[in-house]
């Protein structure tokens, strides 16, 4: 993860067998948004973060955490 925010979206997607496009449709954003969040290129808004967490049924801090350095 290269950004200031680590995330485990890919892990949760794998568990739920969801492609980036499918998750993007559920959240209401484009696939590019999901892919750039995953690689740490884009820090999502609070709304997007909460929507992702709500979809996977976990607290938002289970998916997003501050990078250690």
């Amino acid at each position: 993860m290269s950004g200031p925010l680590d995330n485990r979206i890919r892990v949760y997607r794998a568990e739920h067998r969801l492609s980036q496009g499918a998750l993007a449709d559920i959240i209401g954003v484009s696939r590019k948004t999901i892919s750039t969040i995953e690689v740490g290129k884009f820090v999502p808004s609070t709304v997007i973060s909460l929507k992702i967490a709500r979809h996977f049924g976990v607290p938002v801090e289970d998916i997003f955490s501050l990078a250690e350095h």
């Binding site: 067998r17 492609s19 449709d25 954003v29 690689v39 884009f42």
Partner: protein
Amino acid sequence: MFGNKNETMPQFVDRFLKRIALAVTIMASSYGSGAFSHLVEGSARDFLLMVKDPLGLLAALIVLPMFIKMMMKIIRSGTKHSAPAGYIAETYGKSAGNGFAAGFIFLVLIEPMSGGMLRHLPPEFFIQSAIAVLLGALGISFFILSRDGNDEIDDEFDDEPEPEAANEPTQDQGQGT
């Protein structure tokens, strides 16, 4: 280029913003041609004046069809588009900030020269060149910031149902065939 019928609204908005950025860059070329036409003479000046308006028309033609399509989608759905701002929208916002900064810096730099070595140039030159720098910086900044990287490959998993649905017994399992 023309999108597809399965395109979601967020994808369409991304494509629309990319199209606007392209049009903005072309508009920058149009204003740049107008500004440069004051600096050259002869056939070069004629050429710049000749391409200026067609470039502006091209920019409008690039955006207009998608703008109409966007309006149609909004009217047809009967609701406002309330999706959260994604990566492309944020990149566009950053680029607009960069464009404004570049235009401002250009004006600050050119202001002392307007009464000196550039005194002979008409006011249109300064206005056109400032707009060209502002729009050009916006467009170029957008394409640099939104260029494709290692985020372009969609991680496709098998299209299996989600675990909750997968755990539910199906009719076939119950019949034991």
